[in-house]
């Protein structure tokens, strides 16, 4: 029995992979992502947090790219290349964890709103809609300013403000799944709320969730950099805090283009990679898009 499911799952995975491979843009995104994640993971083997230390900058200040510093230096003479490399760890970590938090909240609320009828579902939906209307960046700024700007609070600020769209998506999918006859069969056999939501609904919404998480990481990285740029993040080096530094030290008027251009390009590259990947996943996994394409 279990071997049958195993084989089935393996086949589904293979089918999924062969479909995903057809999306060239998605594959490009995936490749960029793998490179970025691997680079971020192996960074401690070559450098440490010392590269972000103001005192460690011994080179010329705001120096243009040269052989010593391929990407130039910042206002304290630190290497922009090493800062970007080390900063990628914060940016990616916050992006992933915030997206994860947002997905957990969104899935819980979405399934609950779709599964429970009557006033329970209505209240959950009402709360979701309330969060959906709140201007998310403004709310995240207030949360981060009040709770202080540590990595954990930034993750919470992003996660708490970005889950409602996921919840709506998951709710719609939950309603569609629960309309299928096998749910009625399982109800007739005495299944409870927990069994139905975790064994039947969740596995059916999970693929969509994967696509939506990938897209969510992209927007979480943008939000993180914006929060850091607007100064609510504590000083840990990320691409956003680097750009904050470039703004504070007048890099734009000083013509220090490397200091502004390069951290931003990294953000755009990674965010675009996540978006391409997410869209490819969506078109493979979302049945609605699939039928439209056919």
């Amino acid at each position: 029995m279990s071997s049958v499911t195993w084989v089935r799952r393996q086949r589904a995975l293979q089918r999924f992979w062969s479909e995903f491979r057809m999306h060239r843009a998605g594959m490009v995104g995936l490749a960029i992502l793998l490179v970025a994640v691997v680079l971020a993971l192996i960074a401690p083997l070559f450098i440490d947090a010392g590269v972000t230390n103001v005192v460690s900058g011994t080179r010329a200040k705001m120096a243009p790219p040269s052989i010593d510093d391929p990407l130039g230096t910042d206002e304290s003479g630190r290497s922009v290349l090493l800062m970007i490399w080390w900063g990628s760890r914060t940016s990616l970590l916050i992006g992933f964890l915030a997206a994860l938090l947002s997905m957990v909240i969104g899935t819980t609320f979405g399934i609950a709103a779709g599964h429970f009828r009557g006033w329970v579902g209505a209240i959950i939906l009402r709360i979701t809609d309330w969060f959906l209307v709140l201007p998310s960046l403004v709310t995240a700024l207030v949360l981060a300013a009040i709770l202080g700007g540590s990595t954990a609070t930034i993750i919470v600020a992003i996660g708490v403000t970005s889950w409602p769209s996921t919840a709506r998506l998951i709710r719609a999918q939950t309603l569609a799944v629960e309309a299928r006859p096998y749910i009625e069969r399982s109800l007739a056999l005495g299944a409870g709320h927990w069994h139905i939501t975790t064994r039947h609904v969740f596995p059916n919404v999970a693929p969509l969730l994967l696509a939506s998480t990938t897209l969510e990481v992209a927007s979480a990285i943008v939000t993180e950099s914006t929060l850091a740029f607007l100064g609510v993040s504590a000083n840990k080096t990320s691409w956003g805090t680097m750009l904050r530094g470039s703004y504070d030290w007048g890099a734009a008027t000083a013509g220090a283009w490397w200091y502004i251009l390069l951290p931003g390009l990294c953000i755009v590259l990674v965010v675009m990679a996540f978006t391409l990947c997410g869209r490819a996943l969506e078109s493979v996994l979302n049945p609605r898009l699939r039928t439209r394409a056919a």
């Binding site: 629960e178 740029f229 607007l230 703004y247 755009v268 391409l276």
Partner: protein, 343 residues
């Protein structure tokens, strides 16, 4: 006949049984509830603050403990939480948002001074972004897969990935500071020059200051309008009435302009207003970068100081206006689109 769940949902959410007034009243009731929730949430959120606001206020000034107590009493911080809550709600309902720590002036006055320039910037940017996005999205969606479509989708994908503030920084660097052979043609900050002339000269001066902030905002928000309009037109392309129009021998351009676009327009425009919160976030960032003296910059200042009364007041105002606009969009959509009513 079995009724499927989505159908039940459609029935529940369809206002077919309501008259317009009842629909509007229900929406307004929902909005009021949302606003009440915002007020309650704001109160408790700002009570989570670590530390003593009065001590923060007194920082760098010589104040005796008696003076501190007096200040606490003035701010109502010596009362219990329920009493403070009632006081807060009463004040808020009377549009009294407290006094700013930093400016030593009522928050509502500060907001009143700033709101005009925000409306000017955001309004201009929004009109431009919506027109451009709708025009380009309609053309892209009309011929999916064409070169224009691919170009538009690529552009919007790139702009979607670009953080607003970074685009602003780039524009600032290239067009305001000037780089290499490009001279700086636009001012880096503010809404007008100190030595600006009066009359028409002043208008031109403000317009010149507005170019870069406006461009930044347009670039960032228009991408999503483009995508929404594109998919909206794409939905219309396969419809029967389009085939009929073709059979009548109408020119392709006419079918697009007279038949497809008007039908695709409504959902798009509604979405524009539904996502106004996103625009507001963009406005805060843009105003911060270009020191545009609007509401967004006031909010940004409050966060930088930090001035919690000012932050609380601007947050309340921004949130409530977003809720109001969403509700209006909902009701207007209902009035304009017969398909929603007879669904």
């Amino acid at each position: 006949m079995t009724v499927t769940q989505p159908a039940v949902e459609a029935l529940e959410e369809s206002p077919a049984r309501y008259g317009l007034l009842r629909y509007a009243a229900a929406k307004a009731g929902g909005a009021l509830l949302s606003i009440a929730m915002v007020i309650v949430a704001t109160f408790f959120l700002f009570r989570l603050l670590p530390g003593d606001p009065v001590r923060a206020l007194a920082q760098g000034r010589n104040m005796t403990p008696e003076q501190l107590d007096l200040e606490r009493a003035r701010l109502g911080l010596d009362k219990s939480i329920p009493e403070q809550f009632v006081h807060f709600v009463k004040q808020t309902l009377q549009f009294d948002l407290g006094t700013s720590y930093e400016y030593k002036r009522p928050v509502i006055d500060l907001i009143g001074e700033r709101i005009g320039s925000t409306l000017l910037l955001t309004g201009t940017a929004l009109v431009m972004a919506v027109s451009l996005g709708i025009w380009q999205g309609a053309r892209a969606g009309w011929k999916p897969g064409s070169r224009f479509d691919k170009f538009s989708t690529a552009i919007s994908l790139v702009l979607w990935s670009v953080p607003t503030f970074w685009l602003g920084l780039l524009l600032l660097m290239v067009f305001a500071a000037g780089i290499g052979p490009v001279p700086g043609v636009f001012p880096t900050r503010g809404i007008s020059s100190v030595d600006a002339p009066g009359g028409l000269g002043y208008v031109l001066d403000v317009a010149q200051h507005m170019v870069l902030p406006c461009l930044t905002m347009v670039a960032v928000v228009y991408a999503q309008y483009l995508l929404v309009m594109r998919s909206s037109v794409l939905d219309e392309v396969g419809q029967d009435y389009i085939t009929t129009a073709r059979a009548k021998g109408l020119r392709d351009d006419d079918i697009r302009r007279r038949h497809a676009v008007p039908n695709a327009l409504l959902p798009t425009v509604t979405l524009v207003f539904m996502r106004i919160g996103f625009v507001v976030g963009g406005a805060v960032t843009v105003e911060a970068i270009f020191s545009w003296p609007g509401l967004g910059q006031l909010f940004y200042d409050a966060i930088r100081v930090p001035d919690f009364t000012l932050m609380q007041g601007t947050f309340l105002l921004i949130t409530v206006s977003v809720i109001v606009m969403n509700t209006l969009a909902d009701v207007v959509y209902h009035v304009l689109d017969p398909r929603v009513r007879s669904a």
